[in-house]
């Protein structure tokens, strides 16, 4: 039995369903009533075969997509009735993303990429912003490449920058969609360890989608998504 948590959950899902219209009268339900909770500092792997609904779950949790029904709370705030602008604001301030293909902005340097969420939120830059981005890049071992253009960095380096960027706004939740899927095993280990350590340090909850059983075994817990449902017998 896991110990009961003292803190409020960072993420709380109740009966989340998500359907897509594939034709005028043809609707496909991809998520069939998901219930789950994530607490500060939780490092949770999400596993499951391709097409099982992992990415849809992540997009829904990340407020990039709206659920068809159910309740979705982030840091205690019910999000399903929020306007697009409110969801964007909450996403910018409470959620960090790390994508499989690192997805940095190629027109900017490593430092600028990390500053970007802060810069977008504030509209203008300041010295504090720069100092924070430098500190984050330093903490992921990218200090020597602060001013390197994003597209000149190796895959592993780019993913490190992406992790630093996800942490820029000090989010309560990080959603990592196969962040190591495109890396060699050494780099994948490095990025995993990095995510793990920075999230422990900042008490950030992480939802980590992976196909790698070795990495999922190293997470605090694992949830399995099968055909849009959470697998049986898994503690969530």
């Amino acid at each position: 039995m896991p110990e009961p948590h003292q803190a409020e959950p960072v993420l709380e899902l109740h009966g989340i369903r998500k359907s897509f219209n594939v034709a005028a009268d043809n609707e496909i339900e991809v998520l069939h009533g998901i219930d789950m909770r994530l607490y500060p500092g939780d490092f949770c792997a999400v596993v499951g075969p391709s097409g099982s609904g992992k990415s849809t779950l992540l997009n829904t949790v990340g407020l990039l997509d709206r659920p068809s029904s159910g309740s979705l709370r982030i840091t205690g705030l019910e999000t399903t009735q929020l306007s697009d602008a409110q969801r964007t604001h909450l996403r910018g301030h409470s959620i960090g993303f790390v994508f499989q293909y690192h997805h940095l902005l190629s027109a900017f340097s490593a430092l600028e990429n990390v500053m970007m969420p802060l810069y977008a939120a504030q509209g203008f830059m300041d010295a504090t912003m720069r100092a924070r981005a430098t500190h984050l890049l330093d903490s992921v071992g990218m200090r020597p490449w602060l001013d390197a253009p994003a597209n000149r960095l190796s895959g592993g380096q780019q993913q490190r920058v992406a992790v630093a960027r996800a942490l820029a706004m000090q989010p309560a939740l990080i959603l990592a969609d196969e962040p190591t899927g495109n890396l060699d095993s050494k780099s994948a280990d490095g990025v995993f360890a990095l995510l793990r350590s920075v999230c422990q340090e900042h008490a950030t909850a992480v939802l980590f989608v992976t196909h790698n059983p070795q990495l999922s075994a190293r997470c605090d817990r694992t949830i399995e998504v099968i055909d849009g449902r959470l697998g049986q017998g898994l503690s969530v």
């Binding site: 697009d84 964007t88 301030h93 190629s106 027109a107 939120a121 830059m125």
Partner: protein
């Protein structure tokens, strides 16, 4: 980024996106620049042509001429109702003075639009010298006033423009026909039989063969004696502060005084028809150039939105608002327009300088002065930037409406 910390988020992102797509940006900027240069050069050419023509017309003509009303035929002793199928013969127009012209001059001088009023006597006469004779148009004027309207002093080729009651000025053609030089006597006669012998003070060249063989200038007092119009004036020449207000002011004078008032716009109607046609053609060219520039910018930005879908998705995922994404693309349009307009203004100015330098008359004189009006450049910059912004509207909306999930997967 440290050096540009003052830039708002949207401006820096727009700038970086443009800078990254270097070749694309360069081509569209050159395209816009050519369009803007064409607009600037054509407008300057047209303005120069018009200014040159107006200048030529108005150095030999008053802006408004006020004349005594024409004589009209009136049926005498017959009731109008009893007239049936009458043939009305138009009466002959003799040299006629304007009633109370001195008070009219004071009245006209009080009008704020009017710069100068110069009274004159106008009539037809015959000049003779020996066996030679020519019919001429005589202008009797007050030189101090009249020369401010017609720049006759600058057009003198022989003798002096200073005239007294016993001297006159004639054109080069007439001088050649009569075989006279300054100082020679010339006999001048009217149909009513008045004959005067005056001394030739000087010979002018108005740049027009007809005017040089027809016009004779003398003192107003002399012309009054010649045409039997003691103390009278048959015409008032007016100049205005705004030459293009001439027709309006002429109509105003006509309605207030009942006299005939002809503006230079009315007397050069054909010229104005040509100007209107040129202006319409120029506006049409401007419109189509702006349209092609607009479509050019729009097509580049549409491609850019497609190319940057994933980046837009990432920006949206990290909390960038739809409005911010829209502004990024609108700014790109505006920046492209502005950059193209700046380069285009330079090319346009250069083309104007080259035109002035190399397009010359056969005698080496400048063909006409082009008007390098700063307002034209400001207008072109504003127009191109606005076109850029408007053209970017559709791509910017498209970018702002991108679904981040779809965009990231792109």
């Amino acid at each position: 980024m440290k050096q540009r910390a003052w830039l708002p988020f949207e401006v820096l992102v727009a700038w970086r996106f443009l800078r990254e797509g270097r070749i694309q940006t360069l081509f569209i900027v050159v395209g816009i620049a050519i369009g803007v240069a064409v607009i600037i050069f054509m407008s300057a050419l047209l303005n120069g042509l018009q200014a040159n023509f107006v200048n030529r017309v108005l150095t030999g003509q008053a802006h408004i001429q006020v004349l005594a009303s024409k004589e009209r035929a009136r049926a005498q002793g017959v009731e109008p109702e009893s007239l049936e199928a009458a043939t009305v013969q138009i009466p002959l127009q003799r040299v006629k003075g304007i009633d109370q012209w001195q008070s009219l001059v004071l009245q006209l001088q009080a009008m704020p639009e009017i710069k100068l009023v110069s009274p004159a006597v106008l009539g037809a006469a015959l000049v003779t010298r020996g066996e030679a004779s020519r019919s001429v148009s005589v202008v009797g004027m007050l030189p101090d006033l009249y020369f401010q309207i017609i720049a006759l002093r600058e057009k003198m080729v022989q003798g002096s423009p200073d005239i007294s009651s016993e001297t006159l000025l004639i054109g080069t053609e007439l001088a050649a026909d009569l075989g006279v030089v300054p100082g020679d006597p010339i006999r001048i006669a009217t149909v009513s039989g008045t004959v005067l012998t005056l001394k030739l003070a000087g010979i002018f060249d108005l740049g027009n063969k007809g005017a040089n063989s027809r016009n004779v200038f003398m003192a107003m007092r002399t012309a009054q004696s010649l045409f039997g119009l003691a103390g009278g004036a048959s015409i008032l020449d007016l100049t205005l502060h705004d030459i293009y207000a001439a027709e309006r002011v002429a109509q105003q004078i006509q309605s207030h005084t009942g006299l005939q008032a002809d503006s230079w716009i009315k007397t050069n109607e054909q010229f104005f028809t040509a100007v209107r046609a040129q202006t319409t053609a120029n506006t049409a060219i401007r419109f189509f150039v702006a349209l092609s520039v607009g479509f050019g910018i729009a097509s580049v930005l549409v491609v850019s939105v497609v190319q940057r879908s994933r980046e837009i998705g990432i920006l949206r995922a990290m909390g960038v608002r739809r409005a911010q994404v829209m502004r990024v693309f609108l700014l790109q349009g505006g920046l492209l327009g502005l950059a193209g307009a700046l380069v285009g203004a330079l090319i346009g100015a250069l083309a104007m300088v080259l035109w002035q330098r190399y397009m010359r008359n056969a005698d080496g004189s400048i063909m006409f002065a082009m008007v390098m009006d700063s307002a034209l450049f400001v207008q072109a910059l504003a127009l191109a930037s606005l076109t850029g912004l408007l053209s970017a509207l559709a791509p910017a909306l498209r970018a702002a409406r991108l679904d981040p999930v779809v965009a990231i997967r792109a």
